[in-house]
């Protein structure tokens, strides 16, 4: 008995050591094997900062990319889009990431003799999530109805504005409990931007930004805070980032597109919303209410900012390699974590932007052609 008790830590320690050893040998073996496939260039560490929305995706991509270039450690800080633009402006990061395109005053703040590229990397969406007992099929809602809910004009689930769009659905005489984000968020910016486009009353009373003065409801921090707020509250309703909504066990509404169809959010319908994207990205570029057939209306994208005139050869090479890979092979990985890929034609256009990166005037070509 006594021996056993003393032996246990030793066993655990031994097991841990074995694991560590296994992990080490694993990484070293992959690095040697992939080192040979990527033509010798091992990459170098990159620093990026910005959008919290993009963080899970960039993390996944950077891990996968280590198979190609084992030294390309991408240190991405999800400090928010505003912070990403500030860091990019201050030239303290190798790339910045933002959910909102650069605005004219932000472009004015950039270092004067620097050219930059701005390209989308993946698509996402914001969904209307709810917790209503006895409703099994997705609710169908249009923009006016949803903005009326968030304005406090509609307070009951069995309001005529909701029931008229959902014949046959038994909606209870229950108050709608609105939950919104309390922290500043790109998700809020997309959601309020869409509400402003849908409802003149919303546009004049509230407007669109990363945080607004909410007419009704309670605030919760983060997507998980909003999701738990909705699920805890009978009659709860709120908005969530799509990648989060699929994992939360909540009702998600089909939303009326400009052509009159109700569209459910899915990887496919979100990807279609990117159909109208073109270069160059302008400060008012948006993929809300896309005219593409079957596109989900409340879709968004996230952008990367890179200065084209680089001075360090290995940083420039890794930047080009990583983003080229992300826009080609990496696109197929987006669905693993519920982001939508860019439309393939548009991804090819984005590659042309990446190709503008140069070192002291000499263009940088990707190390190993992919795709």
């Amino acid at each position: 008995m006594k021996i056993h008790r003393f032996a246990r830590p030793a066993v655990i320690a031994a097991a841990a050591l074995t694991l560590v050893a296994a992990a080490c040998s694993n990484t070293s073996s992959t690095s040697t094997s992939s080192g040979s496939t990527s033509g010798g260039f091992q990459g170098t560490a990159l620093n990026g900062a910005g959008s919290t929305f993009a963080q899970p995706l960039y993390q996944l991509w950077s891990q996968s990319f280590l198979q190609k270039e084992p030294d390309a450690q991408i240190n991405y800080q999800p400090i928010g889009s505003g912070g990403g633009i500030e860091q990019f402006t201050a030239e303290t990061v190798d790339f910045g990431a933002t959910d909102v395109p650069l605005q004219s005053d932000e472009i004015g703040n950039l270092p004067p003799n620097q050219n930059y590229i701005e390209f989308p990397t993946a698509l996402g969406a914001v969904v209307f999530a709810y917790n209503v007992q006895g409703v099994d099929t997705p609710l169908k809602l249009d923009g006016t109805t949803i903005s009326d809910i968030f304005l406090g004009n509609i307070t009951k689930w069995n309001d005529a504005e909701i029931t008229s769009q959902n014949p046959g659905v038994n909606l209870p005489d229950e108050s709608i409990q609105v939950v919104h984000r309390s922290d500043e968020s790109g998700t809020t910016a997309v959601w309020t931007g869409w509400l402003s486009a849908e409802s003149p009353e919303w546009a004049s009373k509230v407007g669109a930004d990363k945080a607004v003065q909410w007419p009704v409801g309670t605030g919760a921090s983060g997507n998980d805070g909003v999701a738990s707020g909705i699920s805890q509250t009978d009659g709860g309703a709120g908005y969530l980032s799509y990648d989060f909504a699929v994992t939360a066990d909540l009702g998600v509404a089909d939303i009326k597109a400009p052509d009159g169809d109700y569209v459910a959010p899915s990887i496919d319908s979100i990807s279609k919303a990117g159909g109208g994207l073109t270069f160059p990205i302008k400060s008012d570029t948006t993929i809300i209410n896309s005219s593409t057939k079957g596109a989900y209306p409340v879709a968004s994208t996230t952008y990367v900012l890179i200065y084209t005139d680089q001075t360090d050869q290995s940083i420039a090479q890794t930047l080009v390699d990583f983003w080229t890979w992300s826009l080609t092979d990496g696109q197929s990985q987006t669905e693993q974590i519920n982001y939508a890929p860019l439309p393939s034609d548009f991804a090819k256009d984005a590659l042309k932007e990446v190709a503008k990166i140069n070192v002291n005037g000499t263009p940088v070509t990707p190390t190993s052609p992919t795709g």
């Binding site: 505003g82 407007g207 003065q213």
Partner: protein, 345 residues
């Protein structure tokens, strides 16, 4: 030490002692002086940074910032009024004080005065353990346990019973589900309980045996001894304990942000969602850019919070000293105990 030869036996310890004192005392005095001045400088720098950062908001909104009720960070229609946050901070802290003071003092008296027996040590340890729980854990527990419990049971019951009382009832009018100021106040009460209890125990334990014996000698029961002898003597210390608790309640951030509902209401009902100064700073600062006045407004709020906290600390000092003076010189030890515990925190 260039003494030649062996010094006389008696002088041996004396000489190095005076020497050491000559160098040691000034060195000690200077070190402590530098450290204390550094502390003051740090506070001044802190205030300066906040005032400097908040200057834009101060210039743009002035007094309106403190009395305004609109908090709108939307670009192009920015307006910042902090009244809902000041209100929420005051109300939640007040709820916390009302709940935690009687319980904290009661627990302290139970532990120290009632001869609690076997339960004394486990209870004391448990109360101290409350202080060791990180505030984010309190917040999560509040969000997942307390909020639903209050929504479905406590608040409907309170509004059906106390809510019927004419004037007081307005405070307990049911507002539907979701986080609210009352839940936040209860969480805060639990969080400040350990500090109130610990400081009260400390000051109760230094009440002189003579005071107790005098009360006993007059035929007082144990309860009367506490009421007539112990409590009045310990009052300055207990006030100090309350002020320490209040200080923590005012500044608590994450636990409150998780349960208060984060909306800018000013409502008579405690069951309405609200917002506090620390919560709004934590929620909005991360993504606030310096493009508009938003970041500046948040820094101004931080300055306001620091000023409120400094004001509370000064008032508590005054209160402790005043009650001590009123009590006469028998409580000199009390004052010392109270101010030393205040100083410790």
């Amino acid at each position: 030490m260039a003494t030649i030869g062996v010094p006389p036996h008696a002088d041996a310890p004396a000489a190095p002692l005076t020497r050491r004192r000559r160098f040691g005392d000034p060195a000690f005095r200077w070190t402590t002086l530098v450290v204390s001045v550094g502390l003051v400088v740090m506070l001044a720098l802190l205030l300066w940074v906040l005032a400097d950062g908040g200057w834009r908001a101060i210039r743009e909104f002035g007094l309106h910032f403190v009395i305004g009720r609109d908090w709108n960070p939307v670009a192009g229609r920015e307006t910042y009024g902090a009244l809902p946050f000041i209100f929420g901070t005051a109300v939640t802290s007040l709820i916390a004080m009302v709940l935690a003071m009687p319980i904290g003092v009661g627990v302290a008296l139970f532990l120290n005065e009632s001869g609690a027996g076997w339960i004394k040590n486990p209870l004391a340890v448990l109360v101290d353990l409350l202080a060791a729980i990180p505030s984010v854990v309190y917040g999560l527990w509040g969000l997942f346990v307390l909020v639903p419990l209050f929504d479905h049971t406590v608040e409907p019951w309170l509004s059906a019973s106390v809510g019927k009382v004419p004037v007081l009832g307005g405070l307990f009018r049911y507002q539907g589900p979701g986080g609210d100021m009352f839940t936040a106040g209860v969480i805060l009460a639990i969080m400040i309980l350990p500090i109130v209890t610990a400081v009260t125990r400390e000051v109760v334990s230094v009440v002189s045996t003579e005071t107790r014996e005098a009360a006993m000698a007059l035929g007082a029961t144990r309860y009367e001894t506490i009421r007539l002898g112990v409590l009045p003597t310990a009052r300055p210390g207990i006030v100090g304990a309350g002020m320490l608790g209040l200080g923590r309640a005012l500044g608590e951030t994450i636990a409150v942000a998780l349960v208060i509902g984060n909306s800018t209401n000013i409502s008579a009902s405690l069951f309405k969602s609200g917002y506090t100064i620390p919560a709004v700073i934590a929620n909005e600062f991360r993504e606030a850019t310096s493009a508009g006045v938003h970041r500046s407004a948040l820094l101004f709020l931080a300055l306001l919070l620091v000023l409120i906290a400094l004001g509370m600390a000064s008032v508590s000092r005054l209160l402790v000293r005043r009650t001590a003076r009123l009590m006469g010189d028998d409580v000199a030890a009390q004052e010392e105990a109270a101010s030393s515990t205040l100083g410790l925190a």
